[in-house]
């Protein structure tokens, strides 16, 4: 692909399903997921990479859905909170969030679940300080973060004790 174009044909895998679409080049990945695929679990907050509500996984790594154009995800494997929920990959985190009251309005929760799952992959037994540092890119305006850190810490401890 070489000649600049305002619309782009893309083919990608979203939550394990192949999808093909023609998108405006300016459409970001979060809007593509929400509007074109009706996967509204990915939230759009600040639209400039600060709040973390749009966090999704592209080729296995978490990214800001608002800072990647859908056309850039052509050929990529995209996972959203719906996919991780359906596959039960984040089941423990979801239960822990409910148990510790780690959400109130829930707007930030999908992004935080995506980030927390990535954290526990890279750092299976994080300190509370490391959890806070990792989540510094995800804003929550309800909980004050305490319960979120509690939930993630509880899941980490449970996973570590199981793997012993």
């Amino acid at each position: 692909m070489n000649a600049p174009a305002e619309t782009v044909e893309i083919a990608l895998t979203v939550n394990g399903e192949r999808v093909k679409h023609t998108v405006p080049a300016r459409m970001n990945l979060a809007d593509f997921l929400r509007i074109e695929l009706e996967l509204t679990g990915t939230h759009v907050g600040c639209e400039h990479g600060v709040c973390g509500a749009c966090t999704v996984r592209v080729d296995g790594e978490i990214v800001r859905g608002c800072l990647l154009f859908a056309c850039q995800a052509d050929g990529c494997k995209v996972d959203t909170v719906e996919g991780l929920s359906d596959s039960r990959e984040i089941e423990e985190l979801q239960s822990a969030f409910v148990l510790t009251n780690a959400l109130q309005c829930g707007f930030c929760t999908p992004g935080i679940l995506m980030a927390a799952q990535a954290l526990l992959r890279d750092l299976p037994n994080p300190t509370r300080e490391q959890i806070r540092e990792y989540l510094s890119g995800n804003y929550c305006r309800c909980t004050g973060y305490q319960a979120i850190v509690d939930a993630i810490e509880a899941v980490a401890k449970a996973r570590v004790s199981r793997s012993k």
């Binding site: 692909m1 070489n2 782009v8 300016r26 639209e47 990479g49 973390g52 800001r64 850039q72 890119g137």
Partner: protein
Amino acid sequence: MKAPRFAYARPASVAEALALLDKHRDEARVLAGGQSLVPMLNFRVAAPKVLVDINRIAALSGIKVTKSHVRIGALTRHVDLERSADIARHLPLVAAAVPHIAHPAVRNRGTFGGSCALADPAAELPACALALGATFVVAGKRGERRIAADDFFRGLYATALKSGELLVAAEFPLARPGYVSAFGELARRHGDYAITGIAAHGSTQGGKFSGLRVVFFGVGDRPQLAAHFARALEGQPAAAKSVAAALSKLDADLAPRADLYSSAATKLHLAKVLAGRVLGGLLP
């Protein structure tokens, strides 16, 4: 907001990218990691007609160690620097700086070359490149040219890159024996833009400071090499009291401007506090 309309091109090679940049000149912008450019598009601070997405040009990625230097490809992502054993071993200053850049999801996309080519005055990697005396490798229609970091950063978001040129890599000389480095920054929250930060590199062999390069960022329109400060420390005992005695020289090196959060005086004060701390990290 959403990005304005633009035409998107995804060249597969440096040659194709250069042809596009040459054709569209000032109407084109290079899209690397997009972690600063896309917010600028969304804010409508930038509205290029053409975006040249270099993310699929494999030749621009990677870290290579030779006998004389470490070469970092422009498209190397922050996360690659963070996880690289070569960077940890040969460029500990860069390894120390990367965790301070934004947040994990941003570091997964943001690139070394993007950060240097944008030249945000509060950015970590331009300061490291300047402290370590890196050389930038730039490709253009007429071939490659090399620009020393000292000549590369020209002002607020301004570099020596010319229209139609593409930053392809930077070469960092391997550290000489006895050279050590230290990094630190002050920010209100982890990952926020630095109020001020320091990248320092030099020798403390034989218990004396020599060859120091101390670069401040977030306190001027570009990374600032503190030459008066380094000169005052040259040959002095590598001890906290030498650093404390030289701090007043920073008045000649730095002229910070007030920003939304801090007055000029606060910034200068914090720069000195941080200099004491970071230089302390160089001491044997």
